[in-house]
């Protein structure tokens, strides 16, 4: 990793943040279009060509709405809670590597904000701090539906975080590092499999961890079929019942940015991130590969939402503690054992 002046890091961070915000806006468009196609509808068509300006129109509409604060609300907490969700969602992208060090205008530029020693854990930690935005906002609303949604959300996130973390332990065991850049570099080594030479993507060596991670990630981002915190059939709309206008849109932004970050995280961990044909020669191609892999995960999110009905809360907790947790522990034991055998430390 080349040292670079701090202003250059700021520029990279600024670009990543803005791309993420625009990406979030068009994620809503993508979701509506894909859902429409799956339900044999048209989706947004009126605003701009093929409805492409719809996210912008939605944003302006949300800005223009009246900002309501319930009389019994805790004003300060009510004000800050949506910001927590939004900020934590944005911060966690800082450790995602979008490539190595490249030459732009004759300067060495790192295509990541920071290469933290504990990058993978950092994302988990920030995700667990983000749940405060939901439970504090729910509590500050002084609404029982909100509070119930917030409590569900907290229980759900705390439970699934364990599975999210444990499913990654296998990867850490193989790589020997918690840094996302090291994990990315480890996946660029070829995996010799008889006559075949595949990329050493962790989806191949850690398939069980991949499935567990995918399930836990959907629950962690409060998306269907695990969207119990905002189950509108039971809880009006859960923790953000009392939120309107721009405060609501912070929750909305946070949720979609979280989805994008988790998808980037999953592609980096399991699908080799920026690696792909030609990505060593041209860093732009690496970005394109990363984008493609991320879109696959985002499509999977939308696919789940249109396909599966919502879980019941006891089912949600049951599957986490009775099925996923033992499987995650099993995966760790198997991975550690294989690692020992391949190092020649047993037998």
């Amino acid at each position: 990793m080349a040292e670079q002046p701090i202003w250059l890091t700021f520029i990279v961070a600024f670009i990543i943040m803005n791309v993420l915000l625009v990406g979030m806006a068009y994620m809503t468009y993508f979701e509506r279009k894909v859902m429409a196609a799956m339900q044999d509808r048209m989706g947004p068509t009126r605003t701009g060509p093929k409805g492409l300006l719809q996210p912008i129109a939605d944003g302006i509409k949300l800005l223009g709405k009246e900002d309501l604060i319930p009389a019994a609300a805790d004003k300060v907490v009510f004000f800050f809670a949506p910001l927590i969700v939004f900020v934590t969602a944005l911060v966690s992208v800082a450790v995602i590597p979008f490539g190595g060090t490249v030459q732009i205008f004759g300067r060495d530029v790192n295509l990541f904000v920071t290469d933290l020693n504990v990058g993978a854990l950092f994302i988990l930690a920030i995700g667990s701090a983000g749940v405060y935005g939901i439970i504090l906002g729910a509590w500050a609303s002084a609404n029982r539906y909100s509070l119930l949604g917030g409590l569900r959300s907290a229980a759900q996130v705390v439970s699934y975080e364990i599975i999210l973390g444990l499913s990654l332990v296998g990867i850490f065991l193989i790589t020997g590092s918690l840094s996302l850049r090291d994990i990315l570099l480890a996946q660029q080594q070829p995996l010799e499999f008889g006559p075949l030479s595949l990329s050493n993507w962790y989806i191949l060596s850690q398939p069980l961890a991949f499935v567990l991670f995918l399930i836990a990630a959907v629950a962690e981002t409060n998306r269907a079929p695990f969207d119990l915190p905002e189950a509108e059939t039971e809880l009006v709309s859960g923790f953000h019942t009392e939120y309107s206008a721009f405060r609501f849109s912070f929750y909305f932004l946070g949720e979609y940015i979280n989805m994008i970050v988790v998808s980037l995280f999953a592609s980096t961990l399991f699908l080799g991130g920026t690696s792909g044909p030609g990505s060593e020669a041209y860093w732009g191609l690496g970005l394109l590969w990363l984008l493609l892999k991320t879109v696959i995960f985002l499509f999977f999110y939308v696919w789940l939402r249109t396909t599966l009905p919502r879980f019941r809360f006891d089912q949600l907790m049951g599957i986490a503690w009775k099925v996923l947790l033992p499987l995650a522990l099993l995966n760790i034991v198997i991975t550690a054992f294989i690692r020992l055998v391949s190092n020649g430390q047993v037998f």
Partner: protein, 236 residues
């Protein structure tokens, strides 16, 4: 002044102020929020000391899991059920103050002896860089020299989990469905909703609920008399 000194005083100042906020806050949930901010700032101090793993663990375990559960309880407890919050008896205050002072002395003595008199450890920057970083160095120590302590801690945690399960289990499994427990009040104290009903905007008297009304006896109720068979009402 170098930047890291400025950041240290900023983070340290915020953590001291929020720690104070935990004690003086009137609302228990606000006290919890102060504690969250305090823990996050302490994690920031860990990062400045080069202990990223410790910082991230602090955020995941304390702010991410334990404090969420604490806030859970605080949100569900009726504030009216906490009559002794901030109005503790004097003896409790003195004992609390004494215990706090003892703890401060202990921590201070521990830090002083370690920095002044203890021999220098092996965790020099060169050694840490040799094993690959702070996280790796910590992992190696935990699973070699301190393996016994590590295992003892995990055993204690397992005992704690089993204890929690035992406490949460009803004495007989049928009890949970047989009797209704008291529901948890999310808002006002029990019974206040009938006494404090407001008069309507046009002077309507509130509908009062007669809590003490007699339960209907079998003599007061009578069975449903069906004039016709139920099927006769449905016309096909």
């Amino acid at each position: 002044m170098p930047w890291d000194v400025i950041f240290f005083y900023l983070i340290g100042g915020v953590s001291v102020l929020t720690a104070l906020g935990v004690v003086v806050a009137n609302n228990p949930v606000h006290a919890g929020i102060f504690l969250v901010i305090c823990f996050l700032n302490v994690a920031g101090i860990f990062v400045m000391l080069g202990a990223e793993f410790l910082a991230v663990t602090q955020v995941i375990v304390y702010t991410g899991a334990i404090l969420v559960l604490v806030l859970f309880v605080l949100m569900l407890v009726d504030p009216d059920d906490l009559p002794e919050f901030h109005t503790a008896r004097p003896v409790q205050r003195y004992v609390g103050f004494l215990l706090g002072a003892v703890l401060l002395l202990e921590v201070g003595a521990a830090i002083l002896t370690w920095t002044r008199f203890a021999p220098e450890g092996t965790a020099t920057p060169e050694n840490i860089a040799f094993v690959g970083g702070n996280t790796q160095a910590l992992g190696r120590l935990l699973y070699t020299d301190y393996l016994l302590a590590f295992e003892v801690i995990s055993l204690v945690l397992i005992v704690g989990i089993i204890g929690a399960i035992v406490l949460a289990l009803p004495e007989r499994l049928g009890e949970r469905t047989g009797t209704r427990r008291d529901t948890i009040s999310l808002g006002h104290a029990r019974g206040t909703d009938t006494a404090a009903l407001p008069v309507g905007p046009r002077g309507e008297t509130p509908i009062t609920v007669d809590r003490d009304r007699a339960q209907p006896t079998p003599a007061m109720t009578r069975g449903l008399i069906m004039a016709k068979d139920a099927d006769e009402y449905t016309t096909v």
